[in-house]
Symmetry: C3
Subunit: 399 residues, 3 copies
């Protein structure tokens, strides 16, 4: 391998054993997962985006999915009629509570099961009762709707979520942000957990408004505590455990480059933000943006070149009143500052990497460095603990 | 084959003989014809779109073609200079009646033959008289200009037209509609002859305006009379012969779904519309939209992802006065109602199928049902009676 | 080969020796050079486009390059951070005179050498001093900045320039035109030197304004003096040496086609414009547009489908006063007339060829004719004297 090596990162990546067919073999599964990992739970949208009786179509991991809310519960099936493949969501049409009928020829499915229960244009068709669309397991918690994309029996949702997200006392802001961002989901996930990317936020309005101390960089030199992979629990990597190295000042050609707002003394370890990234694609930043709230993000694969970026916040509350107060404060004060004037820097960074990784062999040409240890650990963890690689969806899944 | 089978359609498609290399072998030629069928006549444009002495460029089956009207007659040649391949139609330039000169270097062709007759920038060139562009046989009838795309000697135009179109007493409306629609031509043709797609028109303004009885579906359960393939005559499939099954009402989860406007008794067979589809790509709907007019449509392959959709109407008339009255009525009353408020539903349906068939292996993944028998017959007929498959046009045809 | 042959062009192209694996073997290298030729100097931009301390990113031959001016001198390195491949030019950031820092993680490079000299987010990184971006040799003369794209030691710039361009007494207009044109660079170069393409300019405002005599065509029938390929000097082809054939009139079907403005007698050889094309991609038109000025053009490969078109003018002057007067006159009178109302015809022609050459096998399907002898010679010369073929840039160059 011709790469100059940053000891500690590259050593990780390159197995010494002969017989390796790829210089970065422990990450191979991850490198293949341009459409994401199969057999995992993913957030689809916020609860408020789907009212009783309504339908919505959405692409996840390249699959076209139709959601409908029936008696409060959300169900999901392929958004693609078995007959000629048109999406129901082009012109959603429901004659009854439990069904959707294709607007083209009236193929009618029970959205709870995917079963073809009627064909309006051929009521006696022998296909009725025999054909079935793929249906997706769905769960709804904390104002978010989750779908399981895969073929296996779904594990408990909690295994695919950032720890604590489902805790009873945690109120989740129901009106978070979501947008399609033009980069592969992995670039987004890696930027999320990137130990030293704090540097891109140095001029963010959020920092300036609060005159908030922010180091130029903050990372860990030991992998102790970095990887969380106990059986029967979410798998993730944590930035924020262990001994932290923070950079407040550096020098270039004799010119000092310093953090804009610095604390009187060096960083107060007790007040440090912990960031962690969890399979399949969820981030947790705790605390952020306030000492008593935490931020949750997801980078759901949309297609090979883009991901669905979902952001919201949580806070431990004692009662409904505190909940409502928290929601109001997020709405009025924080949403704009965090999403549009802070996270936006991350969106720019993810999109700026896309060309290199998509067209210039970036996965093999990149040069990681010491603060990327958490990224290297994430890739290793993801390669090892994912439940399958999603391939270009094309042929219709048959059940 | 893993598909659930709708008896009567799938049985047709799957030959029982061993040795079949494709489950839908009788349709193989059709499945390959993404650019259309070669050695057929196709309508190009309405006569009124090309005045005396004028030129127009058009893409048909992926080929770039230049048309010019000379002393009333329309001729067609490649729209691509033999020298460096630029289209004449970028800047059409005619110094004389019979010729077009390339605006780039003055290569001048007789549009009647394709022969290079002069080069303005090299009048003594040895190429003159030796080089020839492909020329296309052209015929003009009933206010439409037709071109023959192929290499063989063209058969009579009448063999590639909907029967009756050239009948002397048939007046054809000269100002029909035409647009490029973003779906492969086959999806358009199949939607045209689709027995049960009437369902998509149930809310059309045309139906509502007339409170016109329209079943939810109407199809045939026997192939008797469905296929027209006598020697020396147009080849097509007919929807409208034989015993018709009409669906006026069906039930989903106990909820009745009924046709919006129903006749007192069941459908009056004597007043039924017959729809038929003819090689290479012409539809006839008779009568429609009025009891004494018929509708003609064509889905001319443009490129792999789009077709040129042409629509007009015909009526049997006794004299010029009746003709003019018919034209006026189409213009004032019917054109908007039919084209923009009825056929538009078909355009949406064709485009909604494109993704599945182009990117998700739809030709092999689709699940036809009983009313699609006419589509299955069309595919079989087209596979058997086409005169050649058009492949991606690239290299220039040399004569 | 099925092509009708225009003696003198095709004979050149087709080697009689057996063993030829391509009918146009002497041009093979040229036909492969869709991204241009490697190991040559190319103009990048005008000096005035980069002030002291500023940065600009530009794509040349498919490579992303960052330029910075330091103490008056321009340097160039890859515009792609070694770490994760983002372009510096997305958000250029310079803490010191000699460096650029990546806006993402603060990787800081000496722009003079490409060396990684600091990492703001990991000041002690072992990568510092060990990693280096590709740096590009740069020269700046006559208000233009040139970069050497390649791996070899660069030859003197003068070898890759139109002869005379660097002459001391030649003032070069500093505010020339530049735009991205949507055609491959070779189509542009060939149109530039095309002997008979003068035909497309026959209705140009420049010609009409001056009532300037302009033949329909003007070309050479002998290759004597056409090819300039002495050792140690620029390599090019010249249109304008030898005996010229000018066409002022021709006839089509008995109709006379004549030049709009003709001199009383035939062309005055002493006042004829000489056009020449030089490796790698520079044109010289002398004199033009006035008897005492010459025009310089470049068609720098941008990517496979487009080139960077750069135009300016030169005049021999005695002092600064004459220079300024010349610049003023170009600015006020000529720039608009020449660039937007004359050269624009060339832009249309280049773009009109692109489809044929890119998608219809135009390089093998074209039919050259006698006036194209200079193009044939150019292809032969370029195939023989280029210093390497640029391939699709992808993997990062490592130093």
């Amino acid at each position: 391998m011709a790469h100059p090596v940053d000891a500690g990162i590259e050593d990780e990546a390159v197995p010494t054993a002969s017989g390796s067919d790829h210089p970065r073999r422990p990450w191979r599964a991850y490198f293949e997962a341009s459409f994401g990992f199969r057999n995992h739970w993913y957030p689809a949208f916020f609860s408020g985006q789907l009212a009783e009786g309504e339908c919505r179509g959405q692409v996840m991991l390249g699959e076209r999915i139709l959601f409908k809310r029936i008696e409060g519960r959300v169900y999901a099936i392929e958004d693609r009629c078995v007959h000629r493949g048109v999406p129901f969501s082009v012109r959603p049409e429901c004659y009854t509570k439990n069904t959707i009928s294709c607007w083209y020829h009236g193929f009618t499915y029970d959205v709870r099961t995917g079963a073809l229960v009627a064909i309006i244009t051929d009521p006696e068709s022998p296909l009725i009762g025999k054909v079935r669309l793929k249906s997706y397991p769905v769960e709804e918690h904390k104002n978010l709707v989750f779908a399981f994309i895969g073929d296996e029996a779904p594990p408990p949702l909690v295994l695919d979520l950032q720890p604590g997200f489902l805790d009873e006392e945690l109120a989740i802001y129901p009106n978070g942000e979501h947008e399609i961002v033009k980069s592969n989901w992995r670039l987004a996930a890696e930027n999320g957990v990137d130990a030293s990317h704090v540097y891109i936020h140095r001029n963010s309005a959020l920092i300036n408004a609060a005159r908030r101390p922010l180091p130029l960089s903050s990372y860990f030199t030991t992998r102790e505590g970095m990887v969380i992979d106990q059986d029967g629990a979410p798998k993730g990597v944590v930035k924020g455990a262990g001994r932290r190295t923070s950079v407040w000042e550096t020098e270039i050609e004799g010119v000092k480059v310093t953090s804009q707002y610095r604390p009187g003394i060096n960083t107060d370890q007790s007040n440090v933000t912990n960031t962690s990234l969890w399979l399949p694609c969820g981030l947790k930043v705790d605390p952020f943006p306030r000492p008593d709230t935490m931020q949750f993000e997801w980078y759901v694969p949309h297609d090979e070149q883009s991901h669905h970026y979902i952001v919201t916040w949580g806070k431990r509350v004692k009662n409904e009143y505190e909940s409502q107060q928290f929601f109001r404060e997020m709405e009025v004060i924080w949403k704009e500052l965090v999403v549009h004037r802070f996270n936006n820097e991350d969106v720019i960074a993810r999109e700026a990497m896309e060309h290199f990784y998509a067209s210039e062999d970036g996965w093999n040409q990149e040069q990681l460095y010491r603060p990327d240890m958490v990224i290297a650990e994430w890739r290793r963890l993801a390669s090892k603990h994912n439940r399958g690689i999603q391939h270009q969806p094309g042929p219709k899944a048959r059940v």
